[in-house]
């Protein structure tokens, strides 16, 4: 099939679940469903972090150290910029010296 048509079909199957979440969210969610939704960000963020943390370059130890430092910074100061800068700065530094 023509790549353009394939790409448009890919767009459709991407848009539908994006829309379905908004469309199917009930007007009056049950207490159980609200508790379920409360955990979605926690579970999704954890699932975005853990498999991507090691990377493909065999740098797991320095990535773990940098991630721990970034976590402490966020926990202490609650600033996204500061957390990412700490993590990336330390990661690049450790890369240089190890």
């Amino acid at each position: 099939m023509n790549p353009i048509l394939t790409i448009l079909a890919m767009a459709l199957v991407t848009y539908l679940p994006r829309l379905a979440g908004f469309a199917l969210a009930g007007q009056r969610p049950s207490p159980f469903f609200l508790r379920f939704l409360r955990f979605i960000p926690i579970t999704v963020f954890a699932a975005l972090v853990v498999p991507a943390l090691p990377g493909n370059a065999g740098e797991l130890p320095i990535r773990l150290v940098a991630a721990a430092a970034a976590s402490l910074t966020i926990w202490r100061f609650g600033n996204l910029w500061l957390g990412i800068l700490t993590g990336m700065g330390l990661f690049w530094l450790l890369r240089l010296i190890t």
């Binding site: 979440g21 979605i40 972090v49």
Partner: protein, 224 residues
């Protein structure tokens, strides 16, 4: 204004988005897609992980059906994002239609973390990513071989770092920590078997069910 706040809230993530948009374009072009097709995918599919996979599938000459099916499986996780955002934002029909089109992991994450209950904020965060993703796709297409590999630069580390930074402030009670640790472990195990997008959907539903059941039992216990 909320729109600008949303746009700017995404700024810490820009450094991670640009190299990936460029790297996607290089992968897509070397898979034989034209500049137009490469850009079209960023404009209408607009989902980083799925676009990378698609470029890889195009390069090995995969059929349309497997391209579309793989894309669906990677992107179906977005269902959870709309489901979670809607009770907080209470969007109109038009806002749902527009907001869904530009929805990404990043926009969901930053909007949830901000605690802002505003469509303008969500749209600002969404368009911040959309504009940058498409600009870097174009730049990558034009520069082609001169684009450095994100893995070599180490900027692929920004992605997990960002979501870690968004996760930490959400951990308020012991149950949150337990669910987060369980989710991370489950995702690591699941990602050995299924693609990263599907991992998030399966693990998100399972982890959140456990959280909901756990907190329900605790409330029942307090009442008793």
């Amino acid at each position: 204004m909320a729109f600008w706040h949303g746009l700017k809230a995404m700024a810490p993530l820009w450094l991670g988005i640009i190299p990936f948009g460029m790297a996607y374009a290089v992968t897509a072009r070397s898979a034989g897609l034209s500049l137009l097709e490469t850009q079209l995918m960023s404009l209408v599919v607009f989902a980083g992980g799925a676009q990378f996979s698609a470029a890889g599938l195009f390069s090995i000459g995969a059929g349309s059906l497997s391209l579309v099916l793989t894309t669906f499986l990677i992107n179906v996780r977005h269902f959870l994002y709309g489901l979670t955002l809607e009770p907080r934002l209470k969007l109109s029909r038009l806002e749902k239609i527009v907001g869904a089109y530009f929805l990404t992991d990043e926009a969901f994450g930053v909007t949830i973390a901000s605690g802002k209950r505003s469509f303008a904020f969500l749209l600002g965060a969404e368009l911040s990513v959309f504009f940058l993703w498409n600009a870097s796709t174009l730049l990558g297409s034009l520069l082609s071989r001169a684009v450095p590999d994100p893995q070599t630069l180490g900027v692929d580390f920004i992605f997990p770092l960002t979501f870690l930074a968004l996760l930490i402030p959400l951990i308020k009670e012991r149950v949150d920590l337990t669910v987060a640790v369980f989710s991370g472990a489950l995702a690591l195990a699941a990602s050995q078997w299924i693609n990263a997008g599907l991992t998030i959907l399966v693990e998100g539903v399972l982890g959140s069910l456990i959280g909901a059941l756990w907190t329900g039992r605790a409330e029942g216990g307090r009442r008793a």
